[in-house]
């Protein structure tokens, strides 16, 4: 039964009816997130890692740092690359194969939040201008899909970056020599994504899988630590009115602050 993307019609009606009266099937309020569990440093081989459980959705992110060439138009900056995999074991609807449009969209939305908020101080990752810089690989690995992969992935990515340590080095005769010790990856901002689902013309945050299957459309708003919007992505087939979008932005302001406290602990 679970492999069918079609939600049983009776349940679909129930979810929508409840939401019309301000409640959700799992008991949450319209602006409540599911429980967030965060662990960092779970993969020792990675330079940084984190695992987020958002309700039953589970996402693991690992970061790796390598040395490579900068982009020609920003020769003094390190490079950020975000990739996402919807691993087949995470859901009966994920098939093995090259990244499809969903995993590409997920990666690019997570990337946008980090990149546009300038969270990583990429200027500090330059080893030799124009020739050698650090490349930060952020790999998002979805382990269980129970809705709202974007927010879970964004939180896990941020936590993994905060957990990332780079080896100390010095440049001797054009060669990089590793020295003992590590320094944390220089991070200056903490972007957080908040995703809304529109169901029966109402907005709910953090849709779980069955809500996603009945929703008309979704909106993700990513904000930086100052409450500025740094990324937006409307996804799915329906539409929003301007009023709904502005309402979502206001709710997002509050929610991103709440979630940020969970990720950026002392």
């Amino acid at each position: 039964m679970s492999s069918s993307p079609i939600v049983v019609r009776v349940k679909q009606k129930r979810i929508a009816e409840l939401i019309s009266s301000g409640r959700r099937l799992d008991g949450r309020g319209l602006t409540d997130y599911r429980e967030v569990k965060l662990e960092v440093g779970v993969i020792e081989r990675a330079e940084g890692s984190a695992r987020v459980r958002l309700g039953k959705t589970e996402v693991m992110v690992g970061t790796k740092i390598e040395v490579g060439q900068p982009f020609t138009d920003v020769p003094n900056e390190g490079v950020l690359t975000v990739n996402a995999e919807l691993v087949p074991l995470a859901s009966p609807s994920f098939e093995p194969g090259p990244p499809d449009e969903n995993s590409i969209e997920l990666a690019r939305v997570v990337d946008r939040g980090i990149r546009e908020s300038k969270a990583i101080e990429l200027e500090k990752l330059c080893i030799e201008p124009g020739k050698k810089v650090f490349i930060v690989f952020v790999d998002v690995y979805v382990l269980n899909h129970d809705g709202n992969l974007i927010d879970a992935s964004a939180m896990a990515a941020l936590a993994a970056l905060l957990n990332t340590k780079m080896f100390n080095y010095e440049v001797e005769g054009g060669e990089i020599k590793v020295k003992p010790g590590y320094t944390p990856l220089p991070i200056r901002d903490y972007p957080i994504a908040v995703t809304f689902a529109k169901i029966n013309d109402k907005l709910v945050v953090d849709p779980w899988l069955e809500e996603e299957q009945v929703m008309e459309t979704r909106l993700t708003i990513t904000m930086d630590k100052e409450g500025k919007i740094c990324a937006i992505q409307k996804g799915g087939y329906g539409y929003f009115t301007l009023q709904q979008i502005l309402e979502a932005a206001k709710i997002a302001q509050e929610k991103t602050e709440e979630l940020r406290k969970l990720v950026v602990k002392g």
Partner: protein, 246 residues
Amino acid sequence: MSKRKPEKLIDENDVRIDGRKLNELRPAKIEVGVLGNADGSAYIEQGKNKILAAVYGPKEVHPRHLALPDRTLLRCRYHMAPFSVEERKSPAPSRREVELSKVIREALEPSVFVEYYPQTSVDIFIEVLQADGGTRCAGITAASLALADAGIPMRDLVVACAAGKVEGRLMVDLTDLEDKGGEADVPLAFMPNLNAITLLQMDGGLTIDEFEKVVNLAIDGCRNIYTLQKEALKSKYIAVKEAVEE
């Protein structure tokens, strides 16, 4: 080979490099029904953007197993020609093109009555022949016309326009230089008669207040382009009518 970037994108009188004011759209030319084989087609030039859109369908779905039992399957391919940008782009679909193909499809689908023709497919192709910022918006505008040209029943035309913030000023219809050198870019697609926003993305940094202003600029831009869209759709028929009914 890369051009030298200009020092400033806007001068002290709020005039942009191409002479436009902050709330001015690039001049646009739209033609409908330009391709012989496609069921529907449209071509748009907007500033330096040159974009062609074509629609095939509704028709039987290939491969068969993708057919949906209760509605039309809408497919969309946004693609940039290798010669469309400054540095030749590889013809293979990039991750950006994959994402844009998805959001463009999601921007157009709310306008189509997909329930009318179950088990069929409608394929939308957008080819960017020359790019200068705002191609997904111009592509949506053209694709929506191609759908109407194919006689596919629709709730409304979908029109799209981007707005953003460059060197501290809020403005509409950013060129590639303005997008790259600016602080924020917000592409938006709109069904004007239903007040429905079907595409909304953003990258950059805006306060909520700035965001509201920028979105309103984009919507105004959309309404302007919508007038051009409708004219383009009607122009062929109006020309014939005027010619024969003296």
